[in-house]
Symmetry: C2
Subunit: 415 residues, 2 copies
Amino acid sequence: MDAHEHLKQAAHAAREASHILGRSLRPARDAALRAMADALRTSMREILDANAKDTGAFQGTKAFLDRLTLNEARVEAMAVGLEDVAALPDPLDRVLAEWTRPNGLRFQRIATPIGVIGMIYESRPNVGADASGLCLKSGNAVILRGGSDSVHSAAAINVALQRGLAAAGLPPACVQNAPTADRSYVAAMLAGAGLLDLIIPRGGKSLVERVQQEARVPVLAHAEGLCHTFVHAAADPDMARKIVANAKMRRTGICGATETLLVDRPIAASILPLLIADLRVLGCDFRADAASRAIVPELAVATEADFNTEWLDAVLSVAVVDGVEGALSHIARHGSEHTDAIVTQDEGAARQFLRGVDSAVALWNASTQFCDGGEFGFGAEIGIATGRIHARGPVGLEQLTTYRTLVFGTGQVRP
Amino acid sequence: MDAHEHLKQAAHAAREASHILGRSLRPARDAALRAMADALRTSMREILDANAKDTGAFQGTKAFLDRLTLNEARVEAMAVGLEDVAALPDPLDRVLAEWTRPNGLRFQRIATPIGVIGMIYESRPNVGADASGLCLKSGNAVILRGGSDSVHSAAAINVALQRGLAAAGLPPACVQNAPTADRSYVAAMLAGAGLLDLIIPRGGKSLVERVQQEARVPVLAHAEGLCHTFVHAAADPDMARKIVANAKMRRTGICGATETLLVDRPIAASILPLLIADLRVLGCDFRADAASRAIVPELAVATEADFNTEWLDAVLSVAVVDGVEGALSHIARHGSEHTDAIVTQDEGAARQFLRGVDSAVALWNASTQFCDGGEFGFGAEIGIATGRIHARGPVGLEQLTTYRTLVFGTGQVRP
């Protein structure tokens, strides 16, 4: 069967399952999540065996091999993750708004599932289990297409999850796995208007950009997080040092890591050497503009391209800018509308920055690394979105719902 | 200049304008709306002359000619429409949610503009002015591509609106008009990922379906409104007669008009003849299933295709179904997830229906013709959406916004 035909059949089964899910109540979905967790545990042997096939065939770097590798603790963590999701509040049936019109009609906007979600992801096998849990909790059916490196692991995890669903009396088709990691299956998903309601890609920039450019289905994703931290003239120097060091170096590989430091001209000479020294101790390298190099001459020269680079590494672009407007115009030119922060004790400057920066997440006196569903209090996230509609920033359970409007009448007709 | 190159330039100008709009405050946008209204009035002569060129060249039906024709009253109505939008509440800067985390970080989710919207519409020239007003009020720049029949009217209206914007000190590029009604411009818009943030098509089913299938940009639209009214066994017969007559015949050409009547089997023999008689007096024709024809034999036979037909005319498909589940399964098979209603005095049945029907709008004891932004209390609408994400049902000012998250810290770093 070719990829398109398989997707069509999978999507039809998912649609049927989503109708049952959409009408289910919280206890049924939570029980299924717990049954899925149990099934992961009882399928431990099969999952680890499948994973051994993947790791045995793997030819990439040691870091990637580590991400691909499962062990008992990691499978147990997936199971606990599903139980944690079961314990989160129900994202469905929330009344989002309620109003009454002069003619007596009462309106209720309620949260409902989106329907059928396509999830495209790379290497880490746990993403499939996590995404399955979040979609199920929010009443959505999901079709997963993992990377070719983890094809056996993904299949074994899916078999276990479907066993859990069946045990709990929900259709196994709620959570389906692509039969192949072939690129043709991605192509079928991207063309799947009418079959899929939403695609969530998680992976490297090239994968996400391909999805964003080619999909004829709505997409929630971020291709990159080119995040800035702006140290304003009125910043508390100690706070700025603490925040910049954390924003850049806590973890350099996450999308909320700061990639560019912007320093306000009036304080550049005094604070930049301190910030650089802190970061250098932590192992950071620099690409700096002329004004920064006039203050700290040993910094490497930044090209224009460096300011457009998401390093995802211990490298920081550095520029001196003129006030909030200077920072905003740098960010508008180079940013990715992901996450940007200002450090200042001046509320007026902070408000001006928060209002002017058009990013999914804007912070005042906090590290950009807080851009994360867990840190937002969402309990879990399926990804981070930098598109303009439906959801911006961390995508948690709430963002996996949509709404519809119920209208309660007493016989009203329209004049 | 070819269509793609023009769109690129227009979209860049729109993007610049949208950044200014995004940072503007309500008084500036409302003043611009009033200036745009004034400019329509002072450009009355130019607009009517341009419209005369369109109507002079028009070769279609009388009904379409009427929709295309402008006169002083209609232009004045457009101006008043803009003033009405100015008076509506500000959809921007609303705090949609607010919470604090144990580490003291305070989160605020606020409503912001989407960015640059592409609007594709057919014949009625007023749609361009209405859409311009709603986009401006919600802080979005818009690029309009009207139908070929109204090309001169659309251009003259746009010139006036841009004059109003300039007089109010906002960039004329907030509201731009395609230089051509050529289909190549639509193609350029559909391919405009990264240039446009959202496309709203309004027009016939074939236009909207083309947009939905081909767009690589998010779309808010409805291709059709195949709406059902289900008269349940516990319906108040008088209420059912009033609602069904209104839902079908008040206006047959709008997307919220009922296209299919579903009658519960236990009351079919008693109520169907009354419903049919009422509708027949109003000039309605019927396509009925065998069970309905067993009760009212003179009804024309319905084919399966008839139940998939949005008549937009004085024709009604009729079927007898078995209870709420029968109605739900008919609607799932034939509906368009637009608007569906139940008439019943039984709250349990109503709840079962409202929960089970997966439409953007679901009504209990009210006419489906209430699916309208004005009737929802939105003040105005730019269209109705039956997609699954961002907005479902009438799209008003609120649905033309998105959100971002502001995070207020006191120096927090992530552990």
